[in-house]
Symmetry: C2
Subunit: 198 residues, 2 copies
DNA sequence: CAACTGAGTGAACGTTCGTTCATTTTGTAG
DNA sequence: CTACAAAATGAACGAACGTTCACTCAGTTG
């Protein structure tokens, strides 16, 4: 399949659909958002959606892909930034939070919509999620941990805490960098008072 | 309003509706479950639901109430069981996990269905959730923590990790008591290797 | 036996859903 | 100016949704 002729056609129309869908899926969920809602927000009729996407599930898949892409590249910027693996982990968490609770809804959809709930694309969605989470596996592999620590569980514990922020975080809360720092520090040093603490 | 005559009518019919609804809401979500699905599972026609509940949202509210009740009473059994507050917290987490990933779907619904998604009962659902989470506030208040530790964030971090298990936990995983122990221990002592560790 | 009650029926209601498609509009290239 | 392709229309499709309601039916109760 040659691609000698690059697509000069407007990609931004499709992209605008994806952006609008991401916002609505993030706010109201997949089932809570109708094709008509998306069309209305775009200022077009429902049929127009199907000039760009094969189905509603296909549109969700496009949103998911972009969401994973964005949060992945944000985290990738930090993954080897420092020589201290704990610092790298903390920065990755910070970027994860930033993308997750930032104004645009792409990453929110990835966390909010459970892959298994949309049967038609469940496999693809699961794969995309795994792709992203793999980064945290590597970040945690780089840590020197107490003997017997279950790294897999630690990863899930951290991701759980991070993703749950979507439920409670409001803009008036503390800075995201502070939250990321505290979450990682709690898991690094522990929270119990120690002999010798001030 | 006197209640001199106790209700001798069959409560178990209503309760069976709630149980079936809990299972389906937990498995397929609120939007993903229709009144017809619930009726079919009960072996009745859709209209029968409205002899017991004012609306679908009302049925969800009943499920939520039972869910919060069950997980609350399970956690309450452990909340003051020991004189060591860390032990109490760990046991509470263990019971939380048990109820959450156990076979019946009541507690799953409480975690899976976001109160804000069902506008008609959003206020009530939020209140019920808060009631439950209050228990963890008290459990964490009882801990002696390093100076400067944000107890509120610690609570959210722990609840996030606990509730996220719903996404990844499968029966073949480690024992829930072990998981609860590890999650709390990670936050208590930290996971970083220390001088003097074996 | 008659009156009553609560549970359930079965069919229908109005609405909304995802999706289709022949047709029109729009924009670009020869 | 013409030709072509992409984008969007607008109306409609069948299906599924939550909900209603006059009714039957079974099981107490006096």
């Amino acid at each position: 399949m040659l691609e000698t002729v690059q697509k000069t056609t407007d990609l931004s129309a499709r992209e605008r659909f994806v952006t609008v869908a991401a916002e609505l899926f993030a706010r109201n969920g997949y089932d809570g958002t109708s094709i008509r809602d998306i069309a209305r927000e775009m200022g077009v009729t429902p049929g127009a959606v199907y000039a760009h996407f094969v189905s509603k599930a296909g549109l969700l898949l496009a949103v998911y892909k972009t969401g994973v892409e964005r949060i992945s590249s944000a985290v990738d910027e930090e993954i080897h930034a420092s020589t201290d693996p704990w610092t790298n982990l903390e920065r990755a968490c910070w970027r994860h939070l930033e993308v997750l609770v930032a104004e645009n809804g792409f990453a929110k959809v990835v966390i909010r919509v459970l892959p298994t709930d949309i049967e038609e694309v469940a496999g693809e969605l699961t794969t995309l999620r795994r792709q992203y989470e793999e980064r945290f596996r590597r970040l945690i592999d780089a840590l020197e941990l107490r003997a017997g620590t279950n790294r897999n569980l630690l990863r899930l514990q951290l991701l759980g805490a991070l993703n749950w922020t979507q439920v409670w975080y409001r803009a008036e809360h503390a800075d995201l960098a502070d939250i990321a720092h505290a979450l990682v520090e709690n898991l690094r040093r522990g929270t119990e008072i120690q002999d010798g603490d001030a």
